[in-house]
Symmetry: C2
Subunit: 214 residues, 2 copies
């Protein structure tokens, strides 16, 4: 099993957590998003993923793209330990929390979007950083409202075992901290983040622990 | 079964297609995103969804948010007709195509993002429209590269029956046409769009056919 990854990509970080939680070993193939004008845009990686995005998982001749699709694939092919609950409403809740991060926050703040703000729209770094923090803070506040009020929240996002929601939450908190977002309004979320980071599978997945870390 | 919906919301449009494909009847509860300063931000709807986003599905006392999580929930609780293939690599492919639209295109172009561009960043309508078209055109081009080269593409995105990927594709094409994006570079995708729009479940889901259409 191979994972095309970049240490700082939070989408790749999600998949690394899932692989570690499932106890699977894999070969990390680093794709540097800044070097060589962006290795993800080069011919070699474009042949792997025409969308030019990491992560990509290669497994038994199959190529899987998009972090959530990769984790669902792992869940279907290597079910234990489960990263989705057994009941349909619970599974929907976990997926909806993951998507609240994967669709409402992260897409607004990835590298190519930030570049469009500065390079095409000619915005200042200050405006760019405010944009970044705005979507992180409003997006995480919406997740906090759910986590702090819904009965299913446990020591993790859903009950007392890590799920796909936690795989999405932790990398987003890392990004938020890197951009010095205000996280004082999201205590439930930060408690869960702390709980996750006490676990080896999360720690081993973090950017600084990767072979391509700088 | 109830669906909180807005005729023009492409996320709600996806769910309407899935409900129609599965032959399920539902009560549509319109939430007007422009009236009353945005009904989705009012107290009534915020109690339904703290994320203040449509669509929300209510089913037997369960509330499900996020269009992909809703459709996966429908797939698990009302399996026929299937909107995901039976094999894990095929399921991953369908999900990754849906996410290529749901994560890489749509989040950049929804109402609150466009408002931030004009109201906070003080950009012109021309700059806003260029932003819109940029993400639609580059995002759909990436999807086209996959659809036009991968053997699994059939009369629909994956084989010869509609899947979740088609539920995501069609509303995105509607949006692209509304903003006069250039679709000449995505012929495979437009062929599949035409195929879908020949089917009653897709037609009945389109914005103009909704009870709250204007």
């Amino acid at each position: 099993m191979k994972l095309y990854t970049y240490f700082r990509s939070s989408a790749a970080f999600r998949v690394r957590i899932a692989l570690n939680l499932k106890g699977m070993s894999y070969e990390a193939i680093p794709v540097h998003l800044l070097r060589d004008g962006g290795q993800h845009r080069g011919a070699a990686f474009s042949a792997v993923n025409p969308q030019q995005l990491v992560p990509v998982l290669e497994d038994e001749g199959h190529r899987v793209m998009q972090s959530l699709a990769i984790i669902e694939y792992l869940e279907e092919t290597r079910p234990e330990p489960r990263l989705l609950p057994a009941d349909a409403p619970g599974r929907a809740r976990v997926r909806s929390l993951a998507l609240a991060i994967g669709c409402e926050i992260h897409p607004l703040n990835n590298l190519r979007v930030l570049r469009y703000l500065t390079d095409v729209l000619d915005l200042s770094d200050e405006q760019k950083n405010r944009w970044y923090r705005h979507w992180v803070e409003t997006g995480l506040a919406a997740v906090e409202r759910r986590l702090s009020t819904e009965a299913e929240t446990g020591s993790f996002c859903h009950g007392d075992r890590p799920t796909i929601a936690d795989c999405f939450l932790v990398p987003q908190v890392f990004n938020a901290q890197r951009y010095q977002c205000d996280l004082s309004a999201v205590p439930t979320l930060m408690r869960i983040h702390g709980q996750c980071m006490g676990l080896e599978p999360f720690k081993r997945a973090e950017p600084a622990a990767q072979p391509d870390a700088e």
